[in-house]
C-alpha cells in the first residue's frame, strides 16, 4: 500500500513539476506546480511527519492560489491561447541540470548512508514544537520577527501609496483618501 502510494505521489510530483515549464497557460502552470507540491506534502506525510505534510498542503494551496493572480497579472497571454516559449539558454541549462542530477544520483546511490539511529518519538509534532520553541525559543522568535519585517518592508517598497498619500501630510485626515473606501476608514 505504502509503496504504491509512494510511487504514485513521487511520479506525479516529478511529472507535474516538469509540466510547469511545458504548459503555455499560466493557470495550468501554477496549478501543476501546486499538484507537484501537494504530492511532496503527501510524501512527507508518508514519511511519518503528518503535521508538516499537512502544513505544506495548507501553505502551498494558499500560496499557489495567490501566485495564480500574480501570474495572470504580469504575464502576457495568461490563458495560453497562443503557444509561447519564454526560455533562454535552454541547452546549457539542460546540460547543467542533467549533470547535477547525475551527480546527485551517484551521490545518493553510492554514499554509505548511516543506519537508522534511534526511534521517532510517539509525537513528532511535539518534538518539533519543543525544538523550535524550547531551548532556542528566543532565536526562533527573533528570526520570525525578522522574516515578517522583511516581508512587510518589501511590500511597503512595492506599493506606491504610503500613509502620507492616504491620510494627508500631517496624518490627521479623518478618513483615508483611497480610491475605494474601506470598511473601517483607516
Amino acid at each position: 500500500m505504502d509503496v504504491a502510494v509512494f510511487w504514485v505521489l513521487a511520479v506525479l510530483a516529478v511529472v507535474s513539476g516538469a509540466m510547469v515549464f511545458r504548459f503555455d497557460s499560466m493557470a495550468r502552470a501554477t496549478f501543476s506546480l501546486l499538484t507537484s507540491l501537494l504530492c511532496v506534502g503527501g510524501l512527507v506525510v508518508l514519511l511519518g511527519l503528518d503535521y508538516l505534510g499537512i502544513v505544506i498542503v495548507l501553505m502551498m494551496t494558499i500560496e499557489m492560489a495567490i501566485m495564480a493572480v500574480f501570474m495572470v497579472m504580469y504575464m502576457m497571454n495568461p490563458a495560453g491561447l497562443m503557444p509561447m516559449t519564454m526560455m533562454h539558454n535552454k541547452r546549457g541549462a539542460a546540460v547543467v541540470c542533467g549533470l547535477v542530477f547525475l551527480l546527485l544520483a551517484a551521490g545518493i546511490l553510492f554514499a554509505p548512508w548511516p543506519a537508522r539511529r534511534g526511534k521517532s518519538s510517539a509525537d513528532p509534532t511535539m518534538e518539533l514544537g519543543m525544538s523550535l520553541m524550547g531551548p532556542q525559543m528566543l532565536t526562533m522568535m527573533t528570526l520570525g520577527m525578522a522574516l515578517f519585517a522583511t516581508i512587510v518592508a518589501t511590500v511597503v517598497l512595492a506599493t506606491r501609496r504610503g500613509r502620507y498619500d492616504r491620510l494627508g501630510d500631517d496624518l490627521r485626515a479623518r478618513r483615508a483618501d483611497d480610491p475605494v473606501r474601506g470598511g473601517v476608514g483607516r
Binding site: 503528518d50 495548507l58 494558499i62 492560489a65 474601506g182 470598511g183 473601517v184
Partner: protein
C-alpha cells in the same frame, strides 16, 4: 476521548453530509419561497417547497454540459469537482458524538488545509470558462480568502490552544465542563463569520453573487454545476458542523446520547446561519478586508493571548 470509527463509516459520512445539506437547503428554500410569495398556506405546500433543492439538483443533472469559447474545460472541471471533495475530506475529522472517521492527531490543521483547497477550486472554476463574470467571481473568492483566513486561523488555533491539542477528539474532551464558546466568544464569533465565508454563502456569497450572474458558477451547467454548488452546501455544512467540536462541546450534553447532541447543535448552528443570511446583505470584500485585518485579527490575537494565559495558569 474519541474512538476511531469502523471502516463503513467512510461510506456513511458522505451520505450523512448530503442528507444534512439537503435538509438545510430545503429549510432555506422554504424561507426563500415564503419571502417571495408569502408564507406557505399548508404543510403540504411547505413540503413541496422544501423539496425544491432536490428538484433543482435533478433539473441541473439532466442539463447538458456546455462550454464557452477558448475555455479551459479541464481546469473548470477540476475546480468544480474539487469543491465537494475538499468538503468531504475536511469532514473526515468531524466527530459524530465522540466518533470520527479518522481522528487525526493534527485534525484541526487538516481541516484548515482541506478548507483551503476551496481557494484553488473556486478560482479554477472561475478561470476555466474564459468568461469575464465568472473570472470576477473567482478573483473575488481569493480576495475573500485573504480577508477571512487570518482571523479564521487564529480563531481555530485558539480552540486548539484551549485544549492544548490539535486533535479534535481532545478539543471535545476539554469542553466536558465549560464550552469554549462561552469563554472564548470572540473566537467563536469569528469562526462563525469565516464558516460562511469559506463556503462563500449567505452574506459572503459575493464570489457566486447574483450581481455577476452566479460568479464562479456563472458558466457551469449540468453535472459540473451540481458538483460545484452542491460542494458549496457541503462546505457550509462541514464548516458549521466543525464549530460544534471546536466551540460547542461536541457530543457533551445531558440526557441525550452524544451523536444526537452533535446533530442538534449542528442543526442549531445551521439554522442560525440560514437566519443570518436573511438578515444581512452581501458583504463586499473591499469593506470587509479592512475590518478583518484591522479589527478581527487583533481581536483574535487578544483572544488567543487571554486563552494562553488562562491555560498556563491552570
Amino acid at each position: 476521548m474519541a474512538d476511531s470509527a469502523p471502516l463503513w463509516a467512510v461510506f456513511v459520512l458522505p451520505v450523512l453530509l448530503l442528507v444534512v445539506a439537503l435538509v438545510t437547503a430545503g429549510f432555506d428554500a422554504v424561507l426563500t419561497a415564503g419571502a417571495r410569495g408569502g408564507r406557505a398556506g399548508s404543510v403540504r405546500e411547505a413540503a413541496v417547497r422544501a423539496a425544491d433543492p432536490a428538484r433543482e439538483v435533478l433539473r441541473q443533472l439532466v442539463q447538458q454540459p456546455r462550454r464557452t469559447r477558448a475555455s479551459d474545460v479541464a481546469l473548470a472541471r477540476i475546480g468544480a469537482a474539487l469543491l465537494p471533495v475538499a468538503a468531504m475530506l475536511a469532514a473526515v475529522v468531524l466527530p459524530l458524538g465522540f466518533r470520527s472517521v479518522s481522528d487525526l492527531p493534527e485534525g484541526i490543521v487538516w481541516f484548515n488545509a482541506m478548507e483551503a483547497l476551496a481557494w484553488a477550486a473556486v478560482w479554477l472554476a472561475g478561470w476555466g470558462p474564459n468568461s469575464t463574470l465568472s473570472l470576477i467571481g473567482g478573483y473575488r473568492f481569493l480576495a475573500q480568502g485573504l480577508a477571512y483566513e487570518l482571523p479564521h486561523m487564529l480563531a481555530i488555533t485558539t480552540a486548539a490552544l484551549g485544549a492544548e491539542s490539535l486533535r479534535v477528539g481532545q478539543v471535545v474532551d476539554a469542553q466536558d465542563g465549560l464550552w469554549f464558546a462561552l469563554w472564548m466568544p470572540a473566537a467563536f464569533g469569528i469562526y462563525l463569520l469565516s464558516a460562511m465565508a469559506m463556503a462563500f454563502w449567505g452574506p459572503f456569497d459575493q464570489p457566486a453573487g447574483r450581481d455577476v450572474a452566479g460568479g464562479a458558477a456563472a458558466e457551469l451547467s449540468g453535472a459540473d454545476r451540481v458538483l460545484f454548488l452542491g460542494g458549496r452546501w457541503l462546505l457550509l455544512v462541514v464548516a458549521a458542523a466543525f464549530s460544534v467540536p471546536l466551540f460547542l462541546g461536541g457530543g457533551y450534553g445531558p440526557w441525550l446520547p452524544g451523536w444526537l447532541w452533535t446533530v442538534l447543535k449542528t442543526g442549531a448552528v445551521l439554522a442560525f446561519l440560514v437566519w443570518v443570511r436573511r438578515r444581512v446583505p452581501t458583504v463586499r470584500m473591499e469593506r470587509y478586508v479592512e475590518l478583518g485585518w484591522v479589527v478581527l485579527t487583533p481581536l483574535a490575537i487578544v483572544q488567543a493571548l487571554v486563552v494562553a494565559v488562562v491555560v498556563l495558569n491552570r
